[in-house]
Amino acid sequence: MTQAKISDAHDIAKMSEEELNRLEREIARRHIEGLSWFMVFWPFANLICWLSLWPLVLTGTLSAWVAFPIAFFNISYSYLPSHEAQHDIYARPGDKLRWLNEFIGHASVIPLVSSYRVLKMTHLEHHKHTNNPDLDPDYDSHAPSALAAIWKALKVRNPESEQLLSYQKTLDRLDPEQAGLAKRDGIIINLTYLTVLFAMAATGHALEAFLLWVLPLALALVYIRFFLAWAPHHPGHETGRYRDTRAFKSLFGVIGTMGMTVHIVHHLHPRIPLDRTPAAFREMRPILQARNCDLGGLYE
């Protein structure tokens, strides 16, 4: 840390609550402004890449075994653009580019076999009630250790998984009309997924479907649940704006964790685009430190 930053941190420690709030909001506002073109490019490139694997593999141009890790990457990185859309980061209701926000929200999670509406409704509840055992839909992702978290995540696709039941419970207490649409979307996308798998199997391509969709999906769900749900909220005993989420160091770095090492900034200011969150964290760090947040020694 430079001398200037130490001086800043010292000044910040002496600030009043009101001054801290103002400074934090000012940093957030600067990072929220304007569309992030990188986050617009990402979902389209990712989806096109994954879709193009299918004809390449089915025509024998590309080995399914080579396509498998690419599919894993694509499916793992399909969630975050939809996550941006869930928070109206691309465009808010009534904005000119609102259609883009909704299109990315729905389309980017096709490889993840997930409904944008289900994800949005449950994720916003997660933000409202983080770490609340009764109201946080992602509370079941808590686990005492990384290995236990991975094992839990492996069970997410079980027919009666904790996550499925928790999401159903959450939808049941929200707006019935929106919840009905969300459930309908979920059924359609799951039936479509099964239809594709059955058709592939019937034509002698079950192995290709397994390596392009089934196995990468199972592994991607572990990766996503681990870094998006477990790691940033571990141990998950506390609630409150500045205590329910943490920053953490990871061997995988910021990119390898999909930017989740600085997830605390996302919970505080959900409309900051993902690619700008690390920079926002670095600027906010002294403020978060003054607020006694768990920063896990990140960027010390």
């Binding site: 069970k155 079980n158 009666e160 099964l194 059955f198 019937a202």
Partner: protein
Amino acid sequence: MPIWYGLFFIGPLLAEITLRTSIFTPALDFLGNTLPIGVIGTVETLPVYGICITIGGTYGLIAQVTGRWI
């Protein structure tokens, strides 16, 4: 739904893994060396897809009843 998934995807997948890859070869070689010749002869005449679809359907049925694949 898990039953359908077991019957129409997991079963054919197991069959394709058996017929198109060498993943199960060590296990099949082991069985070939340990089981009585009469049993091996009988098993070899059975349809691979039929056996695998039965296994997949059974696994799907168990998943349906217990609510879990693993």
